[in-house]
Every structure is written in C-alpha cells, then in structure tokens.
Amino acid sequence: MVMIAVGSWTFLALSPPFIVESSPTIRLLHSLTRELVKGHFNGNYHGVPNGARLKDLRPGGVILLHNQNGAYGYWTHAVLYVGGGKAIDANDFSRGTILSPMPGYLTYDELSVFRPQISAFQKQQVVQSALQKLGYPYNPFAPIQDQHSEYCSKLVWHAFHDSGVQLCPAYQWVLPDDLAHSKVLHQVADWKHG
C-alpha cells in the first residue's frame, strides 16, 4: 500500500504538462503533491516588500498573489478585499476563514489587483456574501460543490457566485489562475518585488 501511495505521489508530482493540463483535478493534485513535499499547505508567504499601494483597492476587488516557491499555478493565493484595509482570506486550517489586514500581503513576490466589471450594488453583494463565510473551516481538498468549507480561490468564486456573478466555470476545484483568466475581472494594478 505504501509503495502504491509513493508511486502515485511521484507520478502526480512529475507528470508532464500534457497530463497535468488534461483536467483541473489532475492539475490540482499535481500542484498539491509538489507543494506538500515542500511543506507548503496553504498560500501564505512572507517574502520581501513588493511595494504595493493600498489606495488602488476597492471593496469587492480580487487580489491575486504570487509566491515564487509556491504551487497551485502562477498565482499561489487569492483574497477578496472587503474594505477598511482588510481582506477576507481562507488559507489556514487552524483559523479557518478570517479577515486579514492588508499589510500581510505586501511581502509576496507579486501582488495584482483585479476589479470586477459589475455594478456597485453587485460589488456590495459580493462583499456581503464573502463576509457571511467568516469562520468557515479551511479545506483545500473540498470541491466547489461543498458548502461547508472554503479555500482561498473557492471563497472568492463562491462570493461572486452567490451574488449571481460567474467568474469562471464551476470546475471541481477553482485555482487562483482560473480567477486570473476570468472575463469579469479586469487587472488594474500589479506590483512585483524587484
């Protein structure tokens, strides 16, 4: 059994791109196997300041973050700005879904701000539905259909979905990269370390 587990793990971690890109599930498993080996279970990261300015943020904006040592795609983490210098974040099993102060995100290697092309009322609804998820447990394995737990990009996807906005198709697992390719989101600012 151990040999099968190690074999499947190695196969998933070293799969060539054409296998990885064949399905969102395999893509997630590929990322997870690479991430777990490094001991990275969430998108949290403390690097050096990326120089981002918080004045570009508006409630309902999506922030995508890149960590050079992370996985899950180019964008390793996603949060939703809810105003007051805070973002709603689900990246930690011990704390679940929480409100996190923005300065915590200023040390990622890259921070990108995306603004949704929706009405002000819808943005308000997105923030409200995200806030209703506060306290939800963090479960990176839970698929999009699961309504009991969240992980970073699933939380963002759910907040928009519950307000009637579809950011991207409802894949089993929605990754931050899927949000970056959303036609609803428009990139307004980007800061890179160095």
Partner: protein, 162 residues
Amino acid sequence: MRWTGLARKYFYSYLLTITLSLLLSILVPDHLWTQEFVGALWAVFVLSTSVKAMTRGESASPLLRAGLFSQLPGIFIGTISLVTTMLNHPWEWAEGLLELWTYPFLPLEEKIKSTASSAFSTTFLLSCLVPAVLACIPLFGSFITVVRAKIFGYETSVWEKH
C-alpha cells in the same frame, strides 16, 4: 490476540480509511456522505473487533493501549499543530498532516459551525481532539461488552477476570 496485533489492525485499517476517503473525495466529490460512510465503517470495525476481543477474554486495558498506539501519530500531530499554531506557524507540516489524518471525519467536523470570533477554527480544534476520541473507541467496545453481559447475564471472561 496480543494488544500489539490489535493496534496494528486498527492502525493499518485507519490508513486504508484515510486513503479511501481521499480517493472518494476526488472520484465522487458531490457525495460527501461516502467519506462519512467510510469513517463510520472504520469505527464499527474497531468497535466490533474490540467486542470480539473482550468476549474472547481480553481485558479493557490492552484494548485501550491498542487504541492509543494506533492513533499515536494523530495525537502527536494534533499536539504539534496546536503548539506550532500558538508559535505563529513556524512550519505548516503539522496542520496539513492533521487535516489528512482526520480527513475521513472532516465532513462531520465541518457540520459544526465555526465561530469567526475565536482565535482557532472550531474544525481545527475538533481535529486536534479527534485522534484522542478515536483512540477511545476500543474502550467503548469493552463498555458495550460489559453492559451486554450485564443485561443478558453472560458469563464472559471479563467478569471472571474482575
């Protein structure tokens, strides 16, 4: 059967339960009940094995020892993850492993609504406790045997020993 044999039985069957529930969450993500079912099946297996061992003449303490040893990795990971969380996450291994170790019971834990105000997620705290609770299942099995013997007036070896 010696308690080490029982401990091994509980431990390997639990590893199989984790693997199965992880596979089920990938294969049938819409049906979380399948994970709950696999977890419940393991609990019933441990319970019935313990009851069988008791009726064969085993006493309660080796059963408890077997339960504790089979869940020792979970108890260890739970303690470490509590400590590392309090130390502001110097590393994330413990939390991730704890989530994996308690995965078959995660859908159940998630049904208990977390409060946003507390420093820790309710699911996380429950996950820290789950290995200890699972370790006590064989003890519950011995309790069932004793109660059953009392109700139906069995002459079990449990009574002979006491």
